[in-house]
Structures are given as C-alpha cells and as structure tokens.
Amino acid sequence: MAADVKAPPLRPFAEPPALVPGAMQASKPYVASAKMQEAIGFPGELTEGWEGRALDKMGELLGKYRSLRVYLDSCVHCGACTDKCHYFLGTGDPLNMPVARQDLMRSVYRRHFTLAGKLFPKLVGARDLTKDVLDQWYSYYNQCSECRRCSVFCPYGIDTAEITMAGKEIMDAAGLGQKYSNEIIGKVHRIGNNLGLPGPALADTLEGLEEDVKEETGVDVRFPLDQKGAEVLLVTPSADFFAEPHVDSLIGYAKVFHAAGVSWTLSSHASEAGNFGLFIGSYDQLRTIAMRIREAALELGVKRIVVGECGHAWRVAYSMWNTLAGIGAGGEDDFARKLQSQLDSRYKQPMHICEFTHDLIGRGALRLDREANDHRVVTFHDSCNVARASRMGDTPGGQFEIPRAIIRAVANHYVEMAPGTTHDATYCCGGGGGLLTDELLDLRVKGALPRMEALRQVADGRGVNFMATICAICKAQFTKVLPYYGFKMGMVGGVHQLVSTAIRLGEPR
C-alpha cells in the first residue's frame, strides 16, 4: 500500500478540485477482529440480522442526540460546505464533501424514519440500508477526521463529525468495527494507555528521562509517577512518553513544573489523555475511559488536573470531563461534589498545560531565553479540536491566543500562515478521528494537502522551519506526512518543546 502513496500536487490558486467520483471508495481501514469487538462489548461480526441491529441503534441514537436528529432534518443542500473538507480538497472524491458524507446516512434515515422517504424514496434520495450502503459508510465514515471545519461554515452549524460518530457507533452495533480505534480502546482498559505501555515500563521510561535532562541541564528535574499528595495530576497522551517529537514537550512540561516549584505526578492508572471513545461516538466508552482520570485523581488526592498537548483529548477534557466524570465545577450532585470538594476551586479544572505555562509567564515566574530558539522560524498549526471544540483562558478565542503568546515569549521569530487556514478555519492535519493508521496513509497524505500548501507558502516566503502544534496526533501525522511534500520530518514539534529549549532552570525566581 505505502509504495504507491504519492502527494497530490499543490494547487496554485487553492481552487476546489474537479470531482472524481469513486476515487477513494477503496480506501478502508482494517476491520476489527471478533475478539477486539467483543472485548469492548460490541458484536464480533456482521452476522445474520445486522440490518435490524443497525436500524435499532440508529433509532436509539435519534432519541438520544438532538444534534443527530436536527442535522439529519435540516440540511438544505446549499453546498456551502462542499469545498471545506481537507479530504475532499485532497482527493476530489465527491463523497468526501461534508454534505455528501452526511447524505450517506441521511438517505437511510429518510427511508426508514421519515414519511417522505417511505412514500417517495426516489424523489428525496432515500435508500434502504443494504450491504453496499454499509460498505460506503465504512469507507467514507473512515475518511472523516471529525475536525468540525464544515460545522463552522454551515448556516445551521451542521457538524458532520456528529454524523460520522453516529455512523461508527451504528456500524459497531451491527458488528463492523474499525481495528485501529477499537484495539486501542481495548488496550486502555487492559493496560491504562493507548500504546499499551505497562506501569513498570512507564516508570523505567520516566527514570531514563530524568537522567537525560540531568545530563543536558545539570539539574534534577523529576518525572514523578503515582505520587500521592502531589499538587497536580498531569494527564498527557501516552505518545509523549517516548514518541518523537512528543517526548520533547513532556520534558518541557516537567521543566515548567520544576521551575514553578509545583509538585506534580503522572498516574499509571490514567497514563493516557486520549479518549478514543470520542472517535467511535460511543458515550459508554467515552465515559468509562474518562472515569480513569477521576479515579486516579481521587486515589492520588491531587488538587489540580492539568492536561498535556493533545487535540481531541483536550476537547474531551475541556468540554466533556465535567459531564462524563464530574471533573470540573458547578456540579450539584453528590457524584460531582465528591471530586469538586477535593480539587482547588481557585483554578480551572481541568487546565491545559498551555494555560498553566501562560499564567506563569504572565506572572514572570519563568526565566526564558528567547535567543535559544533563534535557529527556528516558527509557525503555529491550530489543531482542529482545540480550535473548534474547546477553549483556553477566560475569553472566547483563548485557545488561539494563549499558545501563540507562549511561542512569542520563548522564540524571536514567529510567522502566521495564511488567513483561512488558521484559527477556527484551520485545516486538520489529516490524521485525526481514529485515522492515524498505516493502511490509511494514502488518505492521510492527501488530506494533509491544504495544510502543506499553507506551510509551503511560509516556508518558501518567510523561511519558516518549525511548525509548532499542541496535539499528539498532529505531531505523529506530520512527522510521517511532511516528507511526501518535500519537508523535513523534524520540522514539526510541540509548543512545550520550544519552551523546553528556552527555559532556564536553577532557583525559581
């Protein structure tokens, strides 16, 4: 597969591509084995009666999610979203236009759940849920990174990600799961993190990091694990523990905690910020995975919960942890109060590591040497779910300002990419939503096209040689995809990687 992966040519005028029907029909991720499916409570295979199971699930979801019901009814086929999806721009496949992706489900909804579709299926484009339709779903709901770019531009805010998530949940209920996501969810439950790194191995890794940092700086920066009574519980994507460039940001967080003199700890029980329950649209999985954080916080008795650099994880933490696991404020029930009374209410719970660092910078609590980053000309890639599904700080848009403010505080050369490709109009890296798997590499390379075009512009025009981002998936995806577009893979890194370079340790001021 990887052999024939080629990057599409950059488009000089950013025109939408010509339609190439069926171009990506064959792109599908591996199917989850019966064992993986059953391990997380789904039917193992598409056995007899799957249609009924799927339609029952669809009916159930229509009653549980207002978004699904309203969005399936409300689209007027205005076409405003048709040129907004990076996968459409990169592939030209019309079924990657957000509205067409929705219509794959809308047609079934019409047929089975509306009067018009029951009476006049042809007229309103209604279809029975057949195996062919299901195959289309499997292809194209696994070509959406749930990045929400389309929802910004739709006059009714229709969020295709909501439809994709429902589609994946319905397929899981029918017995057709995606291997990459569902295998990882199994690992989180069994081992505690997405990478399947068991507690002792994690302890070793952290010890190794302490030695590395000591060698580099001469300072004893700790990477504590399961330390009861620590002030802060840091929950971070497990890629931070050993993947490149992720680990450099982890070192950055540790240096910040050290410099601020705040005691902190990681948890082996909750050694993963990512929550793949979101990707497959399963509330149950979202909740059980989020509960691990709550349990770890209660167990360790921490006062604050801080989340590392990760996009979808920050969305779940910021927007959903309070709902799912009572991690936040304002809860009036016993369940929520139990943790709330333990956490320090003077701080936002949970807090993003960027909020934490930004606050310290604002108070002058860190010694930063900007010149240390002078070999870098930095740009910032807004990660889709941070940008469009979360916030930082007190005012709307803090999720854009705070990371940029940190970068400016630690580096002298900063350049923005073209408007329309950043902030809430940012393009997804092409690897989110459970698509970061090798068999989808062709799709991932093509989906990265709009971001690569914007990067090419500032790389050639302004000498940018470092693209900072705050998402584990973005980092992994770009590392893999950048070479296809003629960039060096080391060009991508974390915001706290820059902080790590600039920060001066020693006695905190």
């Binding site: 042809k122 509330y283 959903m320």
Partner: protein, 241 residues
C-alpha cells in the same frame, strides 16, 4: 371552487401547524448530552442569543463560507420576509399605517425573492459540486417557490387580481363565514401552490427554519468547566456507580 379551496387551505394550515409543532416538540424533547458548541462560542446566554440572531438575520456562517450562495440566499429570504409581511394586509382589517407603508417595499421584495431563487437554482446547474448533491426534490422545491413568486408578481405587475375579493375570501376563511373565491386563474394557482408548500413543510428540508434554533453547535453556551451539563439519560449512569 370556493369550498374546495377553503378545505384545502384549512387542511394545509392544520398539517403545517401540527407537523411543525410535532417536529419542534421532538427536537425540544431530544437531549443534547454533550457540550458541542462550535468554538469560539459565547460564554453567556445573552451572547448565544446574539449569535443566533446574527445567524438567522445576517446568515453569518454562510457569509464566511460562500459569498454567492450568501447573496442569493439572503436576497431570497429577506425578500420572502417582506413579502410575507406585505401579505398580512389580507388578514387584518383595517390595515394599520405601518403595514400600508411596507406595501411598496413588499412589491419589490417579490422581485428580489425571485432573483434570489433564480441565482440559487442556477448554482444547482452551474457549480459541479452543488449539481452533484442536488436531488430531484431540491429542484422541485425551487420550482415550486419560483412559480409561487412569479404568479404573485404577475398579479402585482401584469394582470391585477381583484384583491378586494381575495381579501374578503381570506377574511371569510378566518371568521368561518365563507365568501366566494374570485375566478382568477392566477389567484387559483398561487393559492393552490402555497397550500402545497404548507403541506410539505413539515416533511422536508424546510425544517431548517425551526431546526437552526435547536442546533447544539450554535445554541450552546461555552461553559463546560463552570457548569456540569447533564442529560437525563446520562445522569442515570452516575447513579449506577
């Protein structure tokens, strides 16, 4: 003829009110279990009300998205709003001064409305992406609106209908004291198609009109860390632990 139209219009009104009412009830009853506003989003209720107001009066998101679609779409909807206002005069007696004042604007609004529709329809043929997603019902819907608009405009600019009699007919329907429908083809076509439009409203994409107010990405406040947002079915899960 009069009886037929009377029954048709009563039935259409009943279907419209009951159908949309049922849909709105469904939307209102279905919970939104998770916080999913498209951010940056307002952090207060008032801010959300403003966002929604901008969305439904100025079509803010569409403006950012596609200027042509925005221009035609806005022209059509603004025209439609004025035209509907103008038609109020058939339902009230005496006609208040402000309503008399909007009449001439309403006339030209009808033209704007038809122009907007023409633009939107043209896009369905000329833009390959929009052509790809257009279904027969999308075309029929525009066709229906175009004929309604043109028959209305024809009565305003070409062959004046006897609007005194039309008004008597409509007031008669309102007071259940039927008056004869003037025997005018344009009036008959116009009224019949409006009835069709009302009949299909609750079963079609016209539901976007109530739908937009229930869109969680637009109507939720961005305050998940400060307030615990919990749907009833999700709250029950807390109890299980």
């Amino acid at each position: 003829m009069t009886a037929l139209y009377a029954v048709l219009l009563y039935a259409a009104t009943a279907v419209l009110v009951a159908g949309v009412g049922y849909r709105v009830w469904l939307y209102a009853r279905t919970p939104a279990p998770l916080k999913i506003p498209t951010t940056p989003a307002p952090v207060t209720r008032g801010g959300v009300a403003l966002r929604m107001l901008r969305e439904v009066t100025l079509f803010e998101s569409l403006f950012r998205s596609n200027l042509w679609t925005w221009a035609f779409g806005w022209l059509f909807h603004a025209g439609l709003a004025l035209v509907l206002l103008r038609h109020l005069r058939y339902f009230v007696e005496p006609v208040p001064a402000w309503l008399a004042f909007v009449q001439p604007f309403g006339m030209w609004a009808g033209v704007a409305m038809a122009a907007g529709l023409a633009g939107l329809w043209a896009r369905r043929f000329l833009v390959p992406r929009v052509r790809y997603i257009s279904t027969p019902s999308d075309h029929l819907m525009i066709a229906l609106l175009v004929v309604i608009a043109l028959s209305g405009l024809a009565m305003t600019f070409v062959a004046h209908a006897d609007i005194v009699k039309v008004k008597a007919f409509i007031l008669g329907l309102l007071w259940f004291d039927w008056q004869p429908l003037p025997g005018d083809v344009l009036v008959a076509v116009h009224l019949a198609l409006v009835a069709v439009l009302m009949l299909i409203f609750p079963f079609s994409k016209l539901l976007h009109a109530p739908g937009v107010f229930f869109s969680p990405t637009r109507n939720q406040v961005d305050d998940p860390r400060e307030r615990r947002h919990l749907a009833p079915w999700a709250a029950r899960l807390d109890g299980d632990r």
